[in-house]
Symmetry: D3
């Protein structure tokens, strides 16, 4: 049981679009010219690097949408750590379809596993601390649901999925509203009872103001570790504290040591390095 489930109905349109993007108007002209219709292949998705797997369902869907008779056995499901050389899944069936779907399947799998791997490495970096690792809305256009899923697979938590599922009051909102207090009050008057409110602050003075208001969380943006520590003391666990800005594998444990509840990291989704995974052809049946 986990919280990382991804409904197939939601990813199917993305995988279909990616296959059509790669097939173009003429299809896989190399494979179509060279691979006979009846030819079967046994292949394996194999990790070329150590990492954490995410997106195997999207990869398998790419194969199955190309040909419903392709058979897959998953050895390392999403969330599993793999070492270089380990087989993630066996893919068997019509050689033509496997070859034609290979790149799209890998593009999903490598991208999402890259995000899960980066997340897991940050989660490991802050082990022993209270802090959880968290993503942002800095995602690749069109892939937000998938990328935030990969963050969960890597052991992270998800921040807002969009502009509509929580209130986050930033400096510009505060400026327009004429202060933190009027901003929070105006928002509270209109939002539903299941919507949380977070406020972004740059200084401890702003934090002091936030703590007088009905606010669920505070985003401590680009603060020094010292200030973070002071902020945590001031908040005293009454609301959630989130640190952001300048997070690296090196700085993460220092930030976590301040006692914040969350560390949010944009590059997990916008700049994680893809995990190197390949499709090995084991032979023809």
């Amino acid at each position: 049981m986990s919280n990382t489930f991804l409904s197939p109905i939601v990813i199917e349109p993305l995988v279909r679009a990616a296959l059509c993007e790669d097939l173009g108007r003429a299809g896989d002209i190399t494979t179509n010219a060279l691979v006979p219709d009846g030819s079967d292949a046994e292949t394996a998705l194999v990790a070329r690097q150590d990492g954490v797997i995410a997106g195997i369902d999207a990869a398998l869907l790419a194969f199955r949408l190309m040909d419903g008779s392709i058979d897959a056995t998953v050895l390392q499901p999403d969330g599993n750590g793999v070492s270089a050389g380990e087989t993630i899944a066996r893919i068997c069936g019509p050689a033509k379809a496997i070859l034609s779907a290979e790149r799209v399947a890998l593009n999903f799998l490598c991208h999402l596993s890259g995000i899960a791997t980066a997340t897991a490495s940050l989660v490991y970096a802050v082990r022993g601390y209270r802090a959880r690792i968290c993503c942002t809305r800095k995602t690749t256009p069109g892939l937000r649901g998938l990328e935030k899923y990969a963050v969960r697979v890597g052991g992270g938590l998800n921040h807002r999925f969009g502009l509509d599922d929580a209130v986050l009051i930033k400096d510009n909102h505060v400026a327009i509203a004429g202060g933190i207090r009027p901003a929070v009050e105006r928002v509270r008057a209109v939002i539903g009872h299941l919507v949380k409110v977070e406020v972004e602050v740059d200084t401890l003075d702003q934090l002091k103001e936030v703590l007088k208001l009905n606010v669920d969380a505070v985003l401590l943006d680009n603060m020094s570790v010292d200030d973070l520590r002071r902020a945590v003391v001031m908040v005293d666990r009454r609301i959630v504290t989130e640190a952001s800005g300048g997070v690296t594998r090196e700085s993460a444990p220092l930030i976590a040591a301040s006692g914040v509840d969350l560390i949010s990291v944009g590059w997990l989704t916008h700049s994680a390095v893809a995990l190197d995974i390949g499709l090995d052809h084991l032979g023809r049946v």
Copy 2:
């Protein structure tokens, strides 16, 4: 005049989808609660890092699809190098729409500028050599056209856009066809006169066989620099030579020194670090 033009009709659906992905079912609940309808804002897209800009049209389209009355002045068009702190474009108009479109606009711009910047840095690394830098089909699902555009903006060339616009015979194809010669001949018999044929080889022996056939280009996969140099001598410019595998900013000039025509690099599109760009709010009108 350039070859980097991108038809708006092609990117509009992607930008619309990204905006709807971020707005969700309830829209920007923070901004809607806090920003009055008549309020205008003057903002600027500002580089926070040095880099090469790509994707400004997608970014502007995000603002304009949100509100057609938003006005933009581009100071640094696609292809321009910028320094940290430089203004890329001024965006003025309804504050509500600008705030709601901000993240989507930046997600396109930072992602594509990251690719252009990485490409430009490799192009610079091989300056003085014959070799051109080239992308692959290892792209983010759904964004292939945009990402390959960013590679061109960065000074690179595009490899195949999909499985359908050129023949690339890989080891598995060769195995199924029973050799390089039968593979090439079978392909030649059926493809149109405007389709080029490239063959992937791992060894100089395979290259020798390729050179006897009607082939337009050869992909020298994961060869040592020494072997690449020998390959270039063997080919003697009769067909295009492309090197791939293990390309970094450090290895690129060594590979280029072998005399190959092209160096193709998967990570330009699958793992480039996003360029840090922000939206500064200059004030309210």
Copy 3:
């Protein structure tokens, strides 16, 4: 300034689809046969009943998507109460396009105004009490965003927009998880910091258990007014209390008198009576 803003980019696809649904494959064959191309018309959207207007933007978009030169003046914007006979907006322009878009424009406007009117009447019924009126996920397929917008326009609050923007633990979840406590704890371990947790209870005993846990809101389902009153006392404003089940214009003030924070009502979105609005043709220009 309000929280009822609806991004045009989100409603445009719905309005386009509705126009195409009505035009079919042959278009408005009556109008096309009878109305000359140059003919202009002056028309008015007129209320035939008292009510609250919602959806005027969708209605205007129907006219403008049919012909971009149609001109509209809104006299009674969304949220305004109107009396039978009052003009809501004037629509002037090509007669052909106005006649062809009329039914689709009205179908949106009457449906959404019906929801806003029903909401406003319940809001009025509980005036003076703490309770706010709230909708549910019992919406018309495809129109959730619009219908929840209409609830806001009528003075109500929105409950969850979907399965993904808050946790609502119902009896079946509790049964599968093996109790309320394990359910809440399991959920808390995986959700993001901006996601709220509500639990549905049928009895005061269940409520007692809920109050020991880290829960943001409790849904008091189908309880008697007496039990609701007791529940409110037990909760003592520590978490949000929501009553649901059997809410009518008559029962609403009785339920509100119990002191609950929210009264949620399914029929606001699935069974509200459409507000009668027509398009009067004032003349031809």
Copy 4:
């Protein structure tokens, strides 16, 4: 054998869209956190009110699109009358998918069954008379095909499905064409041989004029029952007579007694009360 068949290919996109609307970007976060993957459930769609069932195919499709292994047994197919407490269908399979699809399935089923029930009650109200009950184009945007299907299921007939499948000349068309005669003649000159022509009239004088022309049906709009009776005598079954305006369960038999062929009712599709149906969880397998 019946005329109420609905092609699955036509409803599938609507059900997919409704599921995605409810799942949002993160999916069913409650169920995903609490329900194990292997857990099965036995559930039943149960009527909470008396009524006529319509839309069971759409409801089952919601479950099956969520998980193809869900099994359904329909006990009360579309068109059957049910009493409160009766089981409509049994739904068995993965608990996760059943819980996640439940609301969407019910939203279709309750909405369409509400329309069928309302139609059936009007059909019953005019039993013994010649008059058939008929719907209009006042439907919910996007759901016209489904709603008109529900009217058929309830025993009603369908009026036009759109602007393109028959000619209906209204007062504005007559005004622009310069009279009923020129309007009818102009239309007859251009329409295909399978398109029928109906004219809307408010007075018996207009009816007299219509009867001299090549018209298939006349819409007697908002006439008194006395005038309807006179109209039926004047028409003498030469063309179809349709009455509209102010139709309620009480007025319907009075209108039907006038001898008209059809009574068309807008509120069947725009304001019918949803039939209360729930999903009972019978246990876990």
Copy 5:
């Protein structure tokens, strides 16, 4: 005033799809490499053959969707006959966009003008007779609305637009229903009052049976001209008579001489020869 109007909202998705189909993932690589951004062109759509124009709106939309600043002046609107060499419309604006949209614009215009021209030539062939020329459902997938529009532009009438807008009882239906009479009666019992019923017959005996029933039209399929003449006498204008099968420009007047009301022709939409139209470049501004 005419019946040939086509709503832009209906054709826009088709034109967008056609442009994207032609632009592919990389766009117009020739034009983008060679035509500077600021360069304007004056061009003209010129007929290379005599014919009747149809589809000019689709052609202009192709240009305008590519670049909204393209200006067009239509000299020969839809329905006009043109001679080889005549200018149909002038298209001025950015050279890049005009060159990139040229082929798509012509593909619509030549295809639809071909259908209009073929229709007009059949209409001319039967001039002086009662018979009108009519199309069928044998259309190009995806283009039915446009092709039937072109038939109207050429002076023809439209038969059914789909399976849903009229009843056409064919031999297989009759066989399954157990005879013409039960088929007609079963249909009449369930269809709306605005739906017409046509029956296909092969023999005069079948026609005799049809004439005893409540049928609106009869399709005389593949009958000899002699039998058609006898059929017309038998029918005596009580219902509409439609002849089909083996219609050519030569046979059409012979068939028309039988006195039938309609002659339906499949090849108008499935096999009409495209009208030769080109885009002449008049110069650069």
Copy 6:
């Protein structure tokens, strides 16, 4: 093994759209009223003319998307020549679904088989010559991939699939670039190594200029057979020669006799006559 494979994932959206286009909002009202749900039918796709089959997969998909239980046996797969009267495939299953899908299945099959048949007849006309028959971008909007597939099935080769998969420099490009040489050089500087360059010429002088440049193919447009012969001599097989303009079954062998490599023909895709194929009902099971 062949190059004519067409991915089902690419054609499915086209077939779905065509079915929905034909079913409209009410579905097949004739069949739904007359054919009982349990009734099965045995039918056969039968050629009414001699020709070459193409598109059987699209036709079968139309049946199967309507009802997944329809069973098909293909006797004459794509590429086979058939004589009038020959059975192409047997289609068995629910009578309702077969009747409702019949027209759409045939519309795809007749259209594509018409193109394959026309191509095959031209291929036959030039047998014994070097010349291959080739299509153009003059295709039906939305069907380019399918139509070019049908050309391959008929034995032809494909020219460009779109503006993006090869460079074709035409007269207007040359004019804007200031000559053939600058045009070719400018293009060569920016295109990828797998993109070929073809130049269109009208005269032998232009050809002479082309032969000095790095060009892969030359399009000899509307040249006399004498000039074509001279051109072939001048080129001497160094680059590909393509003749276009005025190609008919009669002129094709004369053109081929000039020795050109390719003859491209627009009317194969825009004006081929549909092959007459019908669905025979063999009986009811």
